[in-house]
């Protein structure tokens, strides 16, 4: 799973959101570190929808602007959970090795 896809799924965990709203939520939940590019966003959404990790939820017209909402599917939630576990494991193995190195490297 690519990193933009990971963030899109994370942004959809609590409630359905529309494209622009996802981009703002991702920026918020990463403390401004990740700014999803608009050209990236819709491509990612298409791919996630094709894989059925997200699904179209509803469409609204608010103040004349179309909002197309997406929600996380059960399959998407499982995929996100698995990816989170994988990332945590990767981070842990690197951190452990670095710690051993600074501790004097008992190779």
């Amino acid at each position: 799973m690519t990193e933009p896809a990971f963030f899109v799924l994370t942004a959809l965990v609590d409630e359905p959101r529309h494209g622009y709203g996802i981009a703002r939520e991702v920026e918020k939940l990463s403390d401004g570190r990740v700014q999803l590019k608009i050209g990236t966003l819709y491509g990612v959404l298409d791919r996630l929808a094709a894989d059925e990790l997200v699904a179209p939820d509803r469409e609204e017209v608010q103040q004349g602007r179309l909002r197309r909402y997406y929600r996380l599917t059960d399959s998407g939630a499982r995929a996100l959970e698995a990816e989170a576990v994988r990332l945590a494991a990767n981070a842990r193995s690197a951190s452990e090795r670095l710690r051993a190195r600074h501790a004097g490297g008992m190779a």
Copy 2:
């Protein structure tokens, strides 16, 4: 940082290794989950060397086969540490949200 690059750096934390040895070490430290492709490996090494996150260490000829060793630079160790922190943060934010969802979603 791309995932293959992350694994290459991790494999070099404890000691310098040559290309083939890196591939075997990555497979080992990921419990067989990550099998670095040979075409990926050398491209990644070139890019990491250009960025000075790894550096050529020495060359050996063992049993007629050339071994070109690479070592992690201080800059590489710092980059790996930062990436590990970032991955851990990403994994944590996703896991927390998923936990809240299963707990009943107090949105």
